[in-house]
């Protein structure tokens, strides 16, 4: 396929030599050229032109046209000839074909792009998968090694364990052996001891006989005189009666001891029973009521009915006296049942609390502990406050109650005091109401004044504006005349306004209650306004200054 080589060359370099080379070869093999045409990559425009110029020259137009026609028809495009046979070309069809071919070309390029993209993607995917695969292989090997190591350790530990077991067995065997040795030695010693003891006894007997036989006078007791018995009684002979009496006494002693013990045990039993009954009652009271847990109702129902029965039975006084098995069993069983129920309840509460702590704060039924604690603190505070209040009230009540115990005069005095107080209170009420009315009046007047002020301000502004205009005009035309004329009027007007302002401010300064805030805002503004006015006036004439200073001084006087 030498033709392949020649294709790439004209694409890269638009060498004329190569083109000519190609054209010469083109005549030889149109079929190969056919394939070449189809496989052309995106060439530069020059090469295209050069290529196509190579394909079709002035000599082989007809051939090339016919060839093109064949190709196009095989591809499914309409013929470029005007008629089926003939040499006239259908330009429209040619153009259409060209367009179609271009479209096709674009499509193919796009498809190629897509394929290349996919190719790249697949390539990267492949790389990625290969990396993953390599990593996983590594991991697998690591884990295999680990497993091997652990297995090895396990084997070692097991062998150690076996050794230790063996040692333990050995030790146990040794211990058993030693014990056997000890027991055998002990029996041997006992036997020897018994033998020696028998010998010793024999010697003792002998000695005793010898001693008795000697009848030593020395073995005697020398007493000056007989001593009376400790309890003053006379000595008595030993008879059967005395024996029987002794036995009796001994048994009496034993019996009394047993009786005492039994009494103690009875007392203990009674106490314990009482405690158990109390516990039972308390447990019943602690357990949750039936309503909250509908699921357990059937169980509770049966249990409670049993409990009620038990309560009914065991709360009877006479049952306490009985200490028979059945009563005892009943009591203990009922207590056990209830204890179990209480335990379950407490466990449930615990699990609820733990759930809350782990994050189920949306649960409305369960309050988190912190909230609970806060609430309890609040409640405690409230309780304390209420208690204090109650105490003070109680004290006052007591004081009041105490006073009726006094004489009538004090009562009357108290009544007088009360009346006086009441009258005072009424007067105060009246004053208060009057003041309230005054305040409201003043407030209304102030609002009116504020409105007026606003209006006046507007008017003043207008005047000022007009005045400034005049000034300006006058300045430009007649400087000296207008000044003297206009300024005093302006000042007068301003002073009038100032006086009005003074009044309003003075009025405002008397009630020093709730109206202060808006009022203060207004005088500030007005003062600002005034100062502005004064400054503007001051810039014009010094006479105006004195007036303004007067106003300021008077204002100060007003305030003081």
């Amino acid at each position: 396929m030498g033709d392949w080589k020649t294709i790439t060359v004209p694409v890269l370099s638009s060498d004329s030599k190569d083109i000519f080379q190609y054209t010469s070869e083109k005549k030889i093999s149109p079929s190969s050229m056919n394939s070449q045409v189809l496989r052309l990559p995106l060439p530069s425009s020059k090469s295209v032109h050069s290529f196509f110029s190579a394909f079709c020259t002035e000599e082989n137009i007809e051939q090339s046209i016919s060839y093109l026609n064949r190709e196009l028809t095989t591809l499914g495009f309409p013929s470029i000839y005007a008629e089926s046979k003939g040499k006239e070309l259908n330009l429209i069809s040619i153009i259409n074909c060209m367009n179609d071919l271009l479209v096709l070309q674009h499509k193919n390029l796009r498809a190629q792009e897509e394929v290349e993209m996919q190719h790249l993607k697949l390539g990267s995917d492949m790389d990625h998968l290969q990396n993953c695969y390599a990593k996983l292989k590594e991991q697998l090997e690591l884990s295999k090694r680990e497993i091997v190591g652990l297995q090895e350790r396990d084997r070692q530990l097991q062998s150690k364990n076996r050794n230790l077991h063996q040692l333990l067995k050995n030790e146990k065997d040794e211990v058993q052996k030693l014990q056997n040795i000890i027991s055998s030695r002990a029996t041997q010693y006992n036997h020897d001891m018994k033998r020696k003891e028998r010998e010793y006894n024999k010697l003792k007997e002998r000695l005793h006989q010898l001693v008795m036989n000697k009848k030593d006078k020395k073995i005697a007791m020398e007493v000056l005189n007989y001593v009376g018995r400790a309890d003053g009684k006379r000595g008595a002979w030993r008879t059967d009666k005395t024996e029987a009496r002794n036995e009796e006494e001994m048994y009496k002693v034993l019996l009394s001891d047993y009786q005492e013990r039994q009494k103690q045990l009875l007392v203990e039993n009674a106490e314990l029973k009482k405690v158990l009954q109390q516990m039972k009652k308390e447990i019943i009271s602690l357990l949750p009521p039936q309503k909250q847990k509908p699921k357990e109702r059937p169980e509770d129902g049966t249990v409670l009915s049993d409990l009620e029965e038990d309560i009914g039975e065991l709360n009877k006084e006479n049952m306490w006296e009985l200490s028979c098995e059945t009563v005892r069993e009943q009591l203990t069983n009922s207590i056990r049942k209830q204890w179990r129920m209480l335990k379950n309840h407490v466990e449930k509460l615990d699990s609820q609390v733990s759930r809350v702590h782990s994050g189920a704060l949306n649960d409305k039924d369960v309050i988190s502990r912190e909230d609970h604690e806060l609430e309890t603190e609040k409640l405690e505070l409230e309780i304390q406050q209420c208690k204090e209040m109650i105490k003070t009230q109680q004290q006052l009540l007591q004081q009041q109650l105490m006073s009726p115990c006094d004489d009538d005069t004090t009562l009357l005095l108290q009544d007088c005091y009360l009346l006086e107080e009441r009258e005072r209170l009424q007067e105060e009420w009246r004053l208060f109401r009057d003041q309230k009315k005054n305040f409201e009046k003043e407030r209304r007047s102030f609002t009116e004044a504020a409105i007026r002020l606003g209006l006046e301000r507007k008017a003043f502004e207008e005047d000022r504006g007009a005045w400034l205009k005049q000034q300006f005009l006058s300045m430009s035309t007649d400087y000296k005349h207008c000044e003297n004329v206009t300024t005093p009027s302006a000042f007068l007007g301003s002073s009038d306004q100032n006086k009005r302002l003074m009044k309003s401010t003075s009025q405002q300064r008397k009630p020093h209650c709730s109206l202060s805030r808006p009022v203060s805002a207004e005088p500030c503004q007005t003062s600002q306004y005034v100062t502005y006015n004064s400054s503007s006036a001051a810039s014009k004439k010094p006479a105006g200054d004195s007036k303004i200073f007067q106003w300021q001084a008077s204002d100060k006087e007003e305030t003081e």
Binding site: H208, D216, E222, R229, Y251, V253
Partner: protein, 416 residues
């Protein structure tokens, strides 16, 4: 004979020989003085100084002598424990008890003095005979299942007799007054067994101290062990108070004792004072492991005593000879440990209140009560090594004995 409160000399009797044993009669009218070497017992009367009595055992020899509870009979144990002769001061008659057992505590009287239990041994078997003290009539005679009976002791209520075996066998048997076996208790086999026992004053508990350094307490209802007290060398429980006796340098006069001091707190120039410090737990005590190949090794619980109000139990572990362990019986826990500088010689509870007096062989007596503990110096000119002590029955004073001297310690009662 001296007056107890004033130590005024009342009588002076001279005996024939060196007295080995002396005992008051129960009605405090007669004094028995036994001279074992000579085999003579002399009895003196306090009311009638002229009255005299002498009992001569002659060739039979004398090993032990004691009063009977009624104060009119004297029981002499002859040599080799051949027999026990009962001499009567009222009738001058003699009775014999044959084959008594040659053990430490072979005779035991009940607290009310009505019955006497005697351990006997015939044909390599142990027997117990119970006599009525009034007329010395044999009430019961039964054999015990012991290998070699070591001791017997009545419970304070007089209804149960505890019989325990030699230290080679850990076995204690409990017999009722009429001779029935109530229970047997055996903690372990083969190792050395019981060393000492003590009944609680209410007869509710029986404390058994053994060679394995443990005290086991049995209850009187089931005769089963209710608790085991261990005596380890290291005390780790933070709730126990450990009082450690510390030597105080004599120059330092500051009294750091915050407890009620006894009267005799005057310091002597020659002896160093000591005080108690509270040691911080954990405390490790001095542990002595005895030589293994000797008989009667100094290990195990050698001394046991219940306080009279039944609240405390004082024990001494011979492996840790410098410490007294005081256990709270109500809580069944270790309450206090007193660590002394020298080995404990003896201790005794005050018969009226929970007050323990301890002596360690130096010239100090140590008192402990739940309020605290104090170390009291005996104001003697020289050394006064206290060997033993004994309380007065009223609990107001106690006698401290050294080898040659004795001293009476009076305790002030708190004025309420």
């Amino acid at each position: 004979v001296r007056e107890a409160s004033t130590l005024q000399l009342l009588q002076l009797y001279t005996c024939l020989d060196q007295i080995q044993y002396i005992e008051w009669s129960s009605d405090s009218l007669f004094i028995l003085c036994a001279m074992y070497k000579r085999g003579i017992v002399q009895v003196w009367s306090l009311e009638q100084p002229d009255w005299h009595c002498k009992i001569d055992e002659g060739s039979a020899g004398l090993v032990a002598s004691c009063w009977s509870p009624d104060g009119r009979h004297i029981l002499n144990t002859t040599e080799f424990h051949l027999r026990i002769t009962v001499w009567s001061l009222c009738t001058k008659s003699v009775s014999y008890i044959k084959y008594p057992k040659a053990c430490q505590q072979g005779i035991a009287f009940t607290k009310d003095g009505r019955y006497m239990a005697v351990a006997e041994r015939r044909d390599c078997k142990d027997f117990i005979s119970i006599f009525v003290c009034n007329d010395w009539q044999l009430l019961r005679h039964f054999d015990t299942e012991t290998q070699d009976l070591f001791g017997i002791e009545w419970s304070p209520n007089g209804c149960v007799l505890a019989v325990w075996d030699t230290c080679l066998e850990y076995k204690i048997l409990l017999y009722s007054l009429d001779g029935r076996l109530l229970a047997t208790y055996r903690a372990y086999e083969w190792s050395l067994g019981i060393k000492s026992i003590a009944w609680s004053p209410s007869s509710q508990f029986l404390a058994i101290g053994s060679y394995d350094e443990k005290v086991r307490i049995l209850n009187h209802v089931t005769w089963k062990k209710i608790i085991e007290f261990e005596h380890p060398a290291t005390i780790a429980n933070s709730k126990t108070i450990v009082y450690k006796e510390v030597e105080k340098s004599p120059s330092v006069e500051t009294e750091r004792l915050s407890f009620s001091p006894a009267r005799a707190l005057a310091s002597s120039l020659f002896s160093t004072e000591s005080k108690y410090d509270i040691s911080q737990v954990p405390v490790s005590l001095q542990y002595i492991k005895p030589v293994a190949d000797r008989a009667n090794p100094k290990m195990g619980i050698g001394m046991l005593a219940f306080s009279p109000d039944n609240c405390f139990l004082a024990t001494k572990n011979d492996n840790i000879p410098n410490a007294v362990w005081i256990w709270d019986i109500k809580k069944l826990k270790l309450f206090v440990v007193l660590e002394q500088l020298c080995a404990i010689q003896s201790f005794q509870w005050d018969p009226r209140q929970p007050r323990l007096a301890v002596c360690t062989g130096n010239s100090k007596v140590y008192l402990w009560s739940p309020a605290g503990c104090v170390s009291v110096q005996v104001p003697a000119e020289g050394d006064f090594p206290i060997v033993s002590l004994s309380w007065h029955s009223s609990g107001d004073s106690m006698v401290l004995l050294s080898k040659d001297n004795f001293c009476v310690c009076y305790l002030e009662r708190e004025e309420i």
